[in-house]
Amino acid sequence: MIEITTDVIYPDSVASKVANASHGAVVTFLGTTRNTTADRKVLYLEYEAYRPMADNQLELIIREINLKWPGMKIAISHRLGHLDIGDISLIVAIGSPHRANAFSACSYAIDRIKQIVPIWKKEFFEGGEVWVGSQEDMSLKHSKDGPTTITIP
């Protein structure tokens, strides 16, 4: 099951989609908005998506998981629009007969979402705004992680 919505998303609701009497394990991942990135104080985020390509890419990821780890039930829910600090942007829930594969599949799902799904987040921080992943974002990151000068008294 996949879902892309501007509504608030709820962990219990998404997890219930993968519950099944034959599953001994349900693993749920929540992606939440942090208040800091590379020393920037983040005020809020805005997410946008290219639909229906984003929907199709999420379905593709589920098919990939089904091929790698047959027998699992997968639910992915991504929220768009304005998100405040602490809000949940992404929920991935995996139901599986046994727990080991459920953790692997969940981790795989998140990695793939971050690689191929056409969804973008814009960070509004104290002093400006930037599209995460853009050249501007990279140079902002590097200016914080760059070489520091040590003064020897």
Partner: protein, 81 residues
């Protein structure tokens, strides 16, 4: 032939529009479409080779041949999750 360009995130902001129509010769490739687009909208990107593209919702490389009515999307580095 005519194709529709879709722009998102930073590319949309740089161009000032989210969608554009482009007139191209038949059998034009994604590469040709990008050349035409970037000539008019230089602010979108300074590195054509790095641009990730999708035609009708599927990732395609720059050699992909376009057809009349196709939707060509320029996909900036994604940041979902």
């Amino acid at each position: 032939m005519k194709i529709n360009i879709k722009l998102f995130a930073s590319y949309r902001e740089n161009a000032g529009v989210n969608t554009l129509a482009l007139n191209l010769p038949s059998h034009a490739t994604v590469s040709t479409a990008l050349d035409t687009l970037l000539q008019k909208h230089t602010a979108i990107s300074s590195d054509k080779e790095k641009l990730v593209t999708a035609v009708n919702g599927e990732y395609q490389d720059h050699e992909f041949e376009l057809h009349d009515g196709d939707e060509l999307a320029l996909i900036p580095p994604v940041s979902g999750g």
